[in-house]
Amino acid sequence: MTDGRTAPEPSHLNLDDRKIFSLRAAYLRTLADLSPDALPSDEVQGEFDDELRKVSARVLGEHAHDPLDTFLTAVLDRTSRASQAALGGAYEEIRPVVDALRKRIDGVKCGLCVKGDICNGRAGDDRIVAEGGRCISDIKEAMRNAKDDATREYGRVPAAVVVCTSGVSQAPTCIPGLSLAVNGRTWFSDDATTKTSIVTVEVASSLLDGQSMAALNYVALHEMFCHAYQMSARPEARENEGLFVDPIAEGMLDAVIVGLMEEKAQAAGVSDTGAASEADMARRIHLARKATRDRPRFSQAPEVALGALVHDGVLSLYSKEVGRNKASQAVRRLAYDLNLNGWDYRQRRDAFVRLRAHFLGKPRDAQLIDLFIRYLNTSSVNELVHYLTNN
């Protein structure tokens, strides 16, 4: 990396992808908001969904230069007409969905996003989306909330974060048992004086479904908590991941964010089904990522499982000392401090492999246990890191 590099300008999903994303996100949110009694049968919904996809592709091709809000209205108008013709009397089942979706779409006005500028499918769109980007507000809000949560939990902002979005045609994840249309990637773009993390949310817009929408907050939290601040205490520029996968980021912090989401869902109460389904989705993804015995298994399952094991081991250790609630907070603080620390990928991996022996094997390393307990009182992780990298 060269010195004096300014933070890069974010790039975003192209206009066609944003049209499809915006439509599908609005449709899926509409379905999620309706009471179960108002939902159509699977058959009718499937018919409508098919029609929506076909019409979207047609309108995209026929009116490529239309603004996004024009696209949304055109698609809904044509889809509802086609569905009425196809479904006949059964259309009454889908009418509440169409009416609610129309209301949602009517609120989308490209002219109000960034006053005076409307996306036209050219290079200038990235700036408009960065400044406004209401068409991808689900993604932007997820990232904004994740950044706020990370700042609060970490207690600092040790790295600048640039948020980008990019479009893909196939599902961007390779987690066995899950086919998600959203994924996150983080690259470090540090120079001599500044830490900058480029977080890219990848979206296969045409494949966006309820599960993927439920996963969006988890994706944002994973990138922010697990990667954006990783190694930020390192004085020199951070290296991007090479041969070694970091169990602290991929496993320990992943367990932390699932815990945070589940606590949030519990606090929100049974009426907030959105928070509950998002927490459930986060737990599913975490379990699938760490399932070492599955075949095929997630490529990083060993490291995810290792980090999760250390999380659970330390939680158990701390619970005996200070009770469950304080132990949860202490494990989180420890995970953040271990993640911020400047030790490299190999050191992290090797340290956690040794830690596994000390939690599962006998006899336990009394000095190591003592250092973990000492962290409870001092909140200083340096001694622990030093011991783990030298023993």
Partner: protein, 127 residues
């Protein structure tokens, strides 16, 4: 350096490749192998490119992190300052063809095959 960003002047020493169904470790080793032999490359010589001593000394090869690797892994090779004048040619004339021969043409791409960006699609279609 950042994926999906237009290359600025200071990015000229970053080179990216996309690999499918091939371990990162194998690609990394192959890149280093290709660069070790670059000095004796006939193609490079024919193009009038001479690699300076130590041009791979500060080479870093990385693959980024995230919730999940994708079907295509993006790999970025970052050359040090000594490679400034030769990185582009060495990459295009030596490394990419070597990787395609070693791992098959359909497993190595210079632009993300999964991307819907017109720039990436156009670049892949030309090949």
């Amino acid at each position: 350096m950042a994926p999906g960003m237009p290359l600025k002047e200071e990015d000229f020493m970053d080179r990216r490749i996309y690999a499918k169904g091939v371990d990162f470790a194998q690609v990394e080793e192959a890149i280093r192998e290709a660069l070790r032999d670059a000095g004796s490359s006939k193609e490079l010589a024919a193009a009038g490119v001479q690699t300076p001593p130590g041009f791979t000394d500060e080479l870093k090869i990385a693959k980024g992190q995230g919730m999940s690797p994708g079907e295509w892994t993006e790999i970025i090779a970052t050359f040090g300052p000594l490679a400034a004048t030769v990185a582009e040619d060495v990459w295009t004339i030596v490394v990419v063809p070597f990787l395609k021969r070693k791992f098959r043409d359909d497993r190595i791409a210079t632009n993300n095959p999964n991307s819907t960006s017109p720039a990436d699609k156009g670049a892949n279609e030309k090949k």
